[in-house]
Amino acid sequence: MRHDVAKPQLSRFHAGVTQGRAYNRGMDTIAKLCQARRVFSAVLLFALITAGSAARAQETGAPKVPNTLQQRIASCTGCHGVHGEGTPESGFFPRLAGKPAGYLARQLKDFQDGLRKYGPMEYTVRHLSPEYMHEIADYFAAQEVPYARSPLPRVSPEALKRGEELATKGDPSREVPACIACHGTELTGVQPNVPGLVGLPYDYLSSQLGSWRTKTRATVAPDCMAEIANRLSASDISAVSAWLAGRELPSDMHAQPAGTITPPLHCGVLGATGDGA
């Protein structure tokens, strides 16, 4: 996390001095060659002013801070990583990189409104404006980070088969639609509001499905994922999470374009058109 913060002033000062000396020597030669005293004096004056201000800057000791969004959102990147890579080895801090921007902005709003419950996130986003939340969402949505594989639980071949069935066909007897019906044919998500399901850790996937059932994750009504999660049995949650987490990653992990799905349920997060476009 320390990699994303500014280097201390001290090293910048040293760098400045070294560069200044080299620059001076070079210009000195040019001045001799050209016999242009005025140029030399101007360069000397410039060097003195630069050295002077560098020395003053060192006296204040103030670190130099890049004026970037990345620098501003240290509160986010401290846990989720500078590029939103998350912690795939543990699944504890979710990956944000490359998730659709509308989805990410919605999650921030849901934490702000207390629909999605997690103290540290609720505290962090409490006073952010909609504009700032969208800017932050856009930043993480635009990050291109290779997908890392996460540890898989030991599950039986039957469970994996059940997981695949739920993901690709659903279970009509329980009125559970297939994951691909909303999350895209390759399960990489759909712009701008539907997240991908592949490339995510088992622990993350299963805990999200669980949290819809325990009402610690909710969203604007109708909350169709809450309905679906409640139609699944506990073993179904393990099965589908394990199959998704273990699935071979498609070569293109980007979410498919907006308007390419017809959701089987009316979902509040997808807005009036129902497909989120």
């Binding site: 201390p8 000791g61 103030a62 670190p63 959102i73 509160s75 990147t77 952010l128």
Partner: protein, 430 residues
Amino acid sequence: MKTLRRVVIVVVLLGIALGAWLFLRNSGTPPVSREASKIDAASLKDPVLIAKGQYLTTVGDCAACHTAQGGARFAGGRVVGTPFGDIPAPNLTPDRETGLGDWSFEAFWQALHAGIGRKGELLYPAFSYTSYTKVSHDDALAIFAYLQSLAPVHQTSKPLGLEFPYNVRNSLKAWRALYFKEGEYQADPAKSAAWNRGAYLVQGLGHCNECHIARDSLGGMRGDQALSGGQIPVQNWYAPDLSTQANGGLEGWAGQDIVDLLKTGQSAKGTAFGPMAEVVAQSTQHMTDDDLQAIATYLQSLPARPQVAFEKSPLDTTSMVNQGAKIYGERCADCHGKDGNGVAGVYPPLNGNSSVNEPTGINAIRVVLLGGFPPVTKGNPRPYSMPPFAQQLSDSDVAAAVTYIRQAWGNKAALVQERDVIKYRQTPVD
């Protein structure tokens, strides 16, 4: 004789019971109904009055308590936690059944000014009538007109979460006798208009004292300790001393620093976070420059209280402070500077920061654990933030870093221990 003695005992007991009843019975009489109100209903629809009321409602930050997380504004539902139980804020929208739709202005005034409800019941001082009593009649009328102009929201208030004896409203009679002084703000003619305006806002509608004071075991506030700082009950943040006191007060703050903090959430002396971030975001950033200057004028006139001598701990803290210095160099100095002076307009200074030097150490512990964003304001729409260290630093590391910060440079505050960090590890959300 025996009979006489019995009669005397009975009479004495009856006398005590009568006295207790006289003392504890409702002091309030129900105010007039909406129909019988002396305020002409049409006059409440005056757009100028409503606009004034909207501004004053923002100054008073009424929405902060009277809006649930993610809920409709002013429709109530946020629970104010107190050491005596939970007190949910009621619905202020003009819904006839669940809000103020059936209230007369007289009833509203009695609640705001005297802390007495529409049925004559004594109100719990979680509703800060201890401060609002200073609000002028005209301002209260404007606030009422604004609240009545809102779209009604049908939302029933949650029940009180108080247990015996605190659920006996009449026990408040005794509390009020000890801690509540009814009365509008009286201007001090010896002081400037700006000073008086500042004092009126700080003591009254701004209700700054409700957090920035130490409360006793009954939740009462002593008048002579006004604005001298205190731990906010249940929320457990420390609201610093607002006088010009050194080490934890506003010593060295220019009037402009106070204005900057209230207007943008940031100043050259410190940044608003925790509950104050909410106050800035929702209330003070919307105040006029004149009102902010007035507040600064008043606060700067508060005399520094006698400074408490800094007692060096009898424990040998050398290794702890060395560990803290190492952590500071690795984790904190990149932003806050080796000299603890921060970066102007970006990262707050820790050297001389009132929240670093406050007596308990809670604020520094919590900020290290939680990190976070300063409030988003018009003056600072994309604030720089701080990473949370809760997942990265152990309790003893946090204690060491905070102790180092509280004793480095010009800071002179007491050490904090591992057990203090453990106590404040949970995230305060509401």
